[in-house]
């Protein structure tokens, strides 16, 4: 009898890129649900727009680059990018803003750099930063967390009109619905000389951090822990990032509690938890060694604090991630594990 020749190993585990990406999507569901609950239909509409544009961009780029369509569309990497970016956008962002962000992410940051596995920068964060720098007004128009079922909530159709036609419903004044994010509020008011305790009493804030926001963070934390549990994400990156953020926040908080928000506020605010579990853990652009991942995560955490506290933006996850993306190859180079049998030290 004649047989086929294939090299070892002849068995492997049932894992695939598509499966990993789908897990990331599943893990985002609790956080997305919380966001939708507090900020309304806009979140979901953004997700749909982003997904559609991402798939379209992916298809076009794969075709142009002559790559197998079915294989790469079924890896869900474009959808993950779309969701990561959509979740970070304001709920009433105009459709073209979302589309432009996705275009920057998928076409420029991903495919122009060689596609899946070759991009040096996190595509979703590239898209986000392009929008943040180009359209600061649109990017900072956040809704006050008056979610579904509440008197101030926009209906599905009203939301669609805002997003696609910039048609604001007549029954509300713009100011009644939109406002600064909690981090933004903290930043502006500390600038005005108020103390942290005083600021924290304003209605924007909830139990730990921003009202509504803290529940979304809890949702992302749950999903993120599941990712770590299933080993889809390495625990070292979120641990490093949240640890780094906590340590630097604690130092400043202990030095001057009236001027600097407590560490738990920082961890629970903005995109810290979402970023730690979903953004920084993008394996393509992160460090790959065990020690390197801790350092990479910690670097992001520290940079987030520095940008929040001393930079020009209320939150700094996107910039921090991109900055550490640049550092990842160097971190990898200097954190190689000791090879089995190599001399210690």
């Amino acid at each position: 009898m004649r047989f086929k020749i294939v090299t070892s190993p002849h068995i492997s585990q049932d894992v695939s890129v598509g499966q990993m990406m789908r897990r990331v999507l599943y893990a985002m569901i609790p956080g997305i649900a919380a966001l939708t609950g507090f900020f309304g239909w806009g979140i979901l509409i953004n997700l749909v727009i982003a997904t559609a544009v991402a798939l379209l961009a992916e298809t076009v780029m794969l075709t142009v680059r002559g790559r197998p369509l079915a294989l790469h569309l079924s890896d869900f990497s474009a959808v993950v990018t779309a969701w990561l970016l959509a979740v970070a956008l304001p709920p009433l962002a105009p459709w073209w803003l979302t589309a432009l962000g996705i275009f920057s992410a998928v076409v420029v940051a991903k495919h122009l750099y060689g596609g899946l596995g070759y991009n040096p920068f996190n595509p979703a964060m590239v898209g986000y930063v392009v929008l943040l720098i180009s359209f600061p007004r649109e990017m900072s128009t956040w809704l006050i967390p008056h979610g579904l079922g509440q008197p101030h909530a926009l209906s599905f159709l009203e939301t669609l009109r805002v997003i696609f036609n910039s048609e604001w419903p007549a029954r509300f004044a713009l100011d009644a619905l939109t406002g600064a994010t909690p981090l933004d509020a903290l930043r502006t008011q500390i600038g005005l000389g108020l103390t942290v305790t005083g600021i924290r009493n304003s209605p924007v804030f909830g139990i730990i951090a921003g009202q509504g926001w803290e529940w979304a963070a809890l949702g992302f934390l749950a999903g993120g822990l599941w990712l770590v549990y299933t080993r889809t994400a390495d625990w070292r990156i979120p641990a490093g990032m949240l640890g780094g953020l906590a340590i630097i926040a604690t130092i400043f908080y202990l030095a001057d509690p009236q001027h600097y928000a407590p560490p738990w506020f920082h961890i629970w605010s903005g995109a810290a938890i979402f970023g730690a579990f979903f953004i920084a853990t993008d394996p393509v652009t992160a460090s790959t060694t065990a020690r390197g991942r801790l350092i990479y995560g910690a670097g992001i955490g520290v940079l987030v604090y520095i940008i929040r506290g001393f930079g020009g933006y209320p939150d700094g996850v996107a910039f921090s991630v991109l900055l550490m993306n640049i550092a990842a190859p160097a971190i990898d180079l200097y954190t190689q594990p000791r090879v089995f049998g190599a001399r210690r030290g």
């Binding site: 090299t7 070892s8 585990q13 894992v15 596995g117 190689q336």
Partner: protein, 546 residues
Amino acid sequence: MSRLYPFHGGLKTVRHKTESNQWPIQQAALPRWLTVPLRQHIGAIAKPLVQAGDRVLKGQMIGQADGYISAAVHAPTSGVVAAVETRPVPHPSGLPDLCVVIDSDGEECWIEHEPVDYRALHPSELRNVLRNAGIVGLGGAAFPSAVKLNLSGQCEHLDTLILNGAECEPWITCDDRLMRERATGIVAGLQVMTCLLEPREVLIGIEDDKPEAIAAMAEACAGTGYQVRPIPTRYPSGSVKQLVKLLTGKETPVEGLPVDVGVQCFNAATAYTVHRAIDHGEPVISRVVTVTGHVSQPGNFEALLGTSFADLVEQCGGYREGVERLIMGGPMMGFALHSDEVPLTKAANCILAASAAELTPAQPVMPCIRCGACVDVCPADLLPQQLYWHARAKEFDKAQDYHLFSCIECGCCSAVCPSHIPLVQYYRYAKNEIWAQEKEKQKAELARQRHQARLERLEREKQEREAKLRQKAPAKTIKAAEASEAGIKLDIEAAVAHAKPHPPSSISSRAEEGESITDYSARTPALPVAEGGNQEPEPLSSKQDA
């Protein structure tokens, strides 16, 4: 329970042990034809001692170990040598090799053999007995055991002798059955090894999914001081360096051997062949092999070396429908065979007939997403994704910077890769390319040396010719020529001195002239002396000695 020292990484794989380990070892039927490869071991191929038409007896040496790292080969049964020629053999290269084909007479007529009193022998004599019995590592590597049983020059004193009964690869159960059924024989063989190596302790590592084997070995070891150590079932715990680490906590140095840290390791089946060789005088002519997978009746067989795989599969009731791949060894490290018309060798511990159900379906390869799953499972603590990156880019020097040669090709990285990249294949490719480049370099270096030697020879010959010519020529002519040449030189120098604006003092001028003359005259007669010095440096030194 003694302490274990877990190695990094590894995998929980599927086991598939019960398919073949539920029944005792069966005696395989005597085939009509036996094709015995002369290279069943690492090292030089054995020198054939027989030719077509010779009658051989069971156990008769038909191939002699050629050099230190080589092993003898014996006739597995009695019969007539039909041919000594190249035949297909089970080897990853797929290349045929020199084999002795025996037409068995069915008599099983043994050559004269008797037990050896190993305690009465000098260690080197005892090692010779084992060498001549063709004993090699039966775990798969087939390294000549006598070499490993000689510590001189390798290590002062052996701390630990390890018997490897881990059998970590899925599907394989030949060592499991052997330990269950022939534990006393294994321990007897171990005693011979202990006698040669005199280790401080003897440890027997067996994965804890083989409780029967552990119990049987523990019973057989009673009173010997040998310790049976159950180890967690985690592939590749049976890999030598990993097992040594697991049991002793010692890491074998990169590019080193366990003996460098005072540990030596043998397979359980190897110890059994030592017992057969010493206590029965029988060389290695058979082995226990697992025939499993998609065959009707999987099991373990004690089969004569040279029995064809097809014969063995036949004795398992043949293939079931849909066998796609025939693997020698386990599914993690074994290699696929073109054909089942290849003979059983000492290295063959398992024949795995795999259908789609036993294999992972081939999946399209995706780009590496640097997820690091491979890093987590690598038992050599490598960065497989970096090795892949550089191997793929043919940056072999960088691959070596990432310790390519520490890779044991266990396959863990490939098995967990979500992008389904055949990582191990890339590493093998890179290693082969580097070896090929090394060979090229050596060849070039050799060519350079030869060229250099040739140039030197030509120069020497030329000088010899000149020297002969000079000796033949009358001495007067030479002197005359010298004088005239010196005269010309003097004239020139005088002219130069005269032309100088501030001529040096006459003394120094004379000194210069004198120097130049002696210099010149010294050069010409110096030639034959130098020549003589080149040819025979001895006379002078011998004179000095005298």
